[in-house]
């Protein structure tokens, strides 16, 4: 019988060895897949036991922290947003069920302390074995809550967005999207339904969307900054180049009339003007001729240098930002389109920011910042630094640039032209205080909805040594122009930022 006994004992040992293999499979190979399953009640509960890091504004104001509850021997944390609706679209939210958006999503590894470097891995492991709560890292943003609040108040529930950048560093000082919502609703019963009911004055999209980064609007005359940059930087024109404005330009054998341009001030036909004057008074016929002369592809080439056609490298999740550029519409909806020949582009209309050119407020702020920053595109950023629970700095953002878009001399010329706009041009009526030297460009984009426009204003100040750039868009304003609707918002913000 001994032979059979040996066979059987080997068989029994093989059975037990199989168990070691199968357990190894679940605990190593399949571990990540199991943890990622959304009905995994164990990881769901573990998530609630993590003391997620705080999100702080530049001045230390708490934008997101946790509320602690101790029940049934379990200490759990629920996300709380003390500033309610202040920067909900930027910060996003983290629900008890594990859904995250905005910075809560893209910075999740820091906030949950999951980011690894050797010292804190070791420390975390010790804490874990000691049964201690995992404390995530705190994130300090560049946002200034006072400016953010002012921007929201100025938008006053109208659909639109305000982006304020530090002109040199690209730090986002404010990023307001309207309509906004109270982020604390997401962890309340029926909270999503309540958020879904929020409609701004435009009435057609939800408060959850960050209009500043994902919202695509025809830039209208603010795009003349890009066209003028292309015209001057390529050497085709100077600010003094002369044009005859009969009140229209002729493209494809037809008149493109100034009369339809709500942004223009002064007479309908200016006659003999310079490029600078055309910019100052936002004369479409001038830019129409510039566009047809240098060609749509040249304009788009310059647009790309400012960051168009790529998603701005902000820390928010990439799918919460849009690339600006020409869009085409088909049965699949809207998609970014890169023409290969100037003949495919309506160069005349593109030159003044129509013809399916769409841009985000952040992109237009980057255009303004580039001009303010002597032609160098600053890389926008929201995260100033990440601080571990023990107070040590995990990372600190060093300002970066996205390259030289235009020559410094071109930037200086554009700066001068933008000062003309504020001094005696389309934004003269805004009434900036005499002590505040502002450079700006208005935009009043046609939407094909008659006299309902998207109102734009992009500006920086002080013009001689720019510190801040503001881009404002207010959507679908009946008879509302860049100068009358958006410029006053920029004015209020710049006054507060630069008040002595």
């Amino acid at each position: 019988m001994n032979k059979q006994l040996r066979h059987l004992s080997v068989f029994a040992l093989v059975l037990l060895a199989v168990l070691i293999v199968s357990t190894t499979y679940w605990q190593t190979w399949a571990k990540a897949d199991l943890a990622a399953r959304k009905e995994n009640s164990i990881t769901n509960i573990e998530r609630l036991t993590i003391d997620r890091g705080k999100i702080l504004a530049a001045d230390g104001t708490v934008l997101a922290d946790n509320r602690k509850t101790h029940k049934h021997g379990l200490t759990t944390y629920t996300r709380h947003y003390p500033q309610n609706d202040l920067a909900s679209q930027v910060i996003g939210y983290a629900t008890n069920a594990g859904t995250t958006t905005g910075l809560e999503q893209s910075l999740d590894d820091y906030l949950t302390g999951a980011n690894t470097n050797l010292t804190n891995t070791f420390k975390d492991e010790l804490n874990r074995l000691g049964g201690q709560t995992v404390h995530g890292d705190d994130v300090v943003l560049t946002l200034r809550p006072d400016i953010q609040r002012l921007a929201l108040d100025q938008l006053g529930g109208r659909c639109g967005a305000v982006v304020v950048l530090d002109a040199h560093t690209g730090a986002v000082v404010a990023m307001a999207s309207s309509p906004t919502y109270n982020a604390n609703l997401v962890n309340q019963p029926k909270g999503y339904t309540k958020i879904g009911r929020i409609r701004g004055t435009c009435g057609d999209h939800t408060a959850l969307q960050n209009n500043a980064t994902v919202g695509l609007y025809p830039p209208g005359s603010t795009f003349k900054m890009v066209t003028a940059a292309a015209a001057l930087d390529s050497g085709a024109y100077t600010p003094g180049s002369r044009f005859n404005d009969p009140g229209y330009c002729i493209e494809y054998g037809k008149r493109v009339s100034n009369a339809g341009n709500p942004d223009q001030n002064g007479p309908e036909a200016f006659g003999n003007v310079s490029l600078a004057e055309g910019f100052e008074h936002s004369i479409n016929s001038v830019f129409c001729n510039v566009g047809m002369h240098i060609g749509g592809l040249k304009i788009l080439d310059y647009a790309k240098r400012f960051g168009f056609y790529s998603v701005p490298p902000l820390e928010t999740p990439p799918d919460e930002s849009s690339a600006s550029g020409l869009y085409k519409y088909d049965k699949h909806g809207r998609s970014l389109w890169t023409p290969t020949s100037s003949n495919d582009v309506d160069s005349g209309r593109l030159a003044f920011g129509q013809a399916n050119m769409l841009a985000t407020p952040l992109q237009m702020a980057m255009v303004g910042a580039t001009i303010a920053n002597k032609g160098v595109v600053p890389k926008p950023y929201l995260v100033q630094k990440v601080v571990a629970a023990d107070g040590s700095t995990v990372t600190k953002t060093a300002p970066q640039t996205l390259g030289q878009a235009i020559k410094p001399s071109t930037a200086a010329e554009l700066n001068q032209m933008m000062q003309l706009v504020v001094r005696g041009g389309t934004a003269a009526s805004v009434g900036f205080p005499p002590g505040l030297k502002v450079a700006g460009k208005t935009g009043t984009a046609e939407l094909g909805l008659g006299t309902i426009y998207d109102a734009w204003f992009v500006a920086f100040a002080p013009a001689d040594n720019p510190r801040y750039v503001v881009a404002v868009v207010v959507e679908k304003q009946p008879n509302g122009f860049g100068a009358s609707v958006s410029a006053p918002i920029a004015k209020a913000i710049l006054e507060k930022l630069l008040a002595r």
Binding site: M1, L5, S9, L13, H72, G73, R128, L129
Partner: protein
């Protein structure tokens, strides 16, 4: 060093490990549990010292490592049971007291010659059937999780199939010893009594829906049949019969069908009908909830585990996430808190126990002893395989206890009997070896 001194030394080591285990749980959970947990460690150590004294008196020449290994497995189980609910650890402690009593009684009674059992083989056969059918008796049985495998008396739950397993092994060892030559010839006449007893046993298991025990009994039967007859054809035939039989049974029993579906695809991507509440739900939220959540528990442990006392077993409302955690699913709890390192060590301990068991079978000089030791050792290994294999999706999940580790009185008693049996056989074999 004498065999018994080795046993004592090994038991001391186990006692120290137990103390460390309880101290760890106490430190981790001191906000929730009262002090005095070290008292448990001392208490269990004391019980195993009593068992040790019994072996000194009755089986001085028996294998010195079986008892310490059993003690270590019990300690691991009791530590985890204590961590999951101190009240249950106290009850388990009472069962261990009874278990040691049964252990001592068995050793004293059979210390001269356990082979008298051979004479009563049909008593054991009938006892096995009786114990299997006991839960079916009106007033005694209770249906838990669709299986009728528990009986109640005096407020204590008892799973008689655990003891039935031991009775069956004794019966098979005796029957095969007597009939193995004629069985190998394959005449139906010799197979008759065997088939009758086996048939009733299987029927009993299926009517009580105790699939885990059915599989275990069948496995033990086939293994002992092979040892006795050395006929691979019999094994193949038996396995074939089992597959055909299970298929037939699964066609008629939704309970079995469900287990197989849960095994093959525990996760559904679309909601399906959930019989528990009549709603449309994902399978992992309904039928396969226990299996899937147990896998989450194992996965969460990862390589190093969360540490004793730091695993997540209760929900926000304080409810237990995995039903039957301290009985059938204690392995998932261990896997989460001890990690792969810990449970692999536990499985190696099972392997070491099985190796010792088969060595005893090899060293035994008579057929009955060989078959009995082989049956007990293989039963022990196969039971571990059925439950841990079920939990880790190697085979369909069937509820059965993890030997020595799971909470449950019947399991404790059966396992003490198993150790007693192996010690008796070992003692006799070593005595005969010394005499020659």
């Amino acid at each position: 060093m004498t065999l018994r001194n080795r046993e004592l030394l090994a038991l001391m080591t186990v006692g120290l490990l137990t103390a460390i285990g309880f101290a760890t749980v106490y430190i981790a959970l001191k906000s929730q549990i009262s002090g005095g947990s070290l008292g448990y460690a001392v208490f269990f150590f004391g019980l195993y010292l009593v068992a040790h004294v019994v072996t000194r008196l009755t089986v001085p020449l028996a294998d010195p490592y079986l008892l310490p290994m059993a003690a270590l497995l019990t300690a691991i189980g009791v530590t985890e049971i204590y961590r999951l609910g101190p009240d249950n650890a106290f009850r388990q402690g009472l069962w261990v007291v009874i278990g040691v009593g049964v252990f001592a009684t068995t050793l004293f009674w059979l210390r001269h010659d356990y082979r008298v059992l051979e004479r009563y083989k049909y008593v054991f056969g009938v006892t096995a059937i009786f114990l299997l059918l006991l839960p079916w008796a009106p007033g005694l049985g209770e249906t838990i999780n669709g299986s009728r495998l528990w009986i109640h008396f005096g407020g204590l739950q008892f799973q008689p199939s655990e003891l039935g397993k031991i009775a069956l092994i004794v019966f098979l060892a005796a029957y095969f010893r007597e009939k193995r030559e004629v069985l190998a010839q394959g005449r139906l006449k010799d197979w008759g009594p065997l088939l009758v007893i086996w048939g009733i046993a299987m029927l009993g298991l299926f009517v009580t829906n105790d699939l885990g025990s059915a599989l275990l009994y069948y496995g033990i039967f086939v293994a002992m049949l092979y040892v006795a007859t050395a006929r691979i054809a019999f094994v193949a035939g038996a396995v074939g019969l089992f597959l055909v039989g299970s298929f037939a049974v699964s066609q008629g029993t939704p309970h079995v069908q469900e287990r197989i579906t849960n095994w093959l695809s525990p996760w559904s991507t679309h909601p399906i009908y959930c019989p528990a509440n009549g709603e449309q739900m994902l399978r992992q939220s309904c039928q396969s909830y226990q299996q899937v959540t147990s896998l989450y528990s194992i996965g969460h442990g990862g390589f190093g585990g969360t540490g004793l006392g730091h695993g997540i077993f209760t929900g926000e409302t304080g409810s237990q996430l995995i039903p039957d955690l301290n009985t059938d699913f204690i392995y998932s709890a261990l896997a989460q808190e001890l990690g792969l390192v810990g449970v692999a060590a536990v499985l190696l301990l099972y392997m070491a126990f099985v190796v010792r068991g088969f060595q005893i079978a090899l060293s035994a000089t008579d057929g009955f002893s060989k078959l009995l030791a082989a049956g007990l050792s293989f039963g022990f290994a196969f039971q571990t395989f059925v439950i841990v294999g079920g939990i880790t999706r190697v085979i369909p999940l069937t509820g059965i206890t993890l030997p020595f580790v799971s909470y449950g009185g019947s399991s404790v008693l059966a396992n003490f009997l198993l150790v007693a049996g192996l010690l008796l056989i070992s003692n006799r074999a070593n005595r005969e070896l010394a005499a020659t």
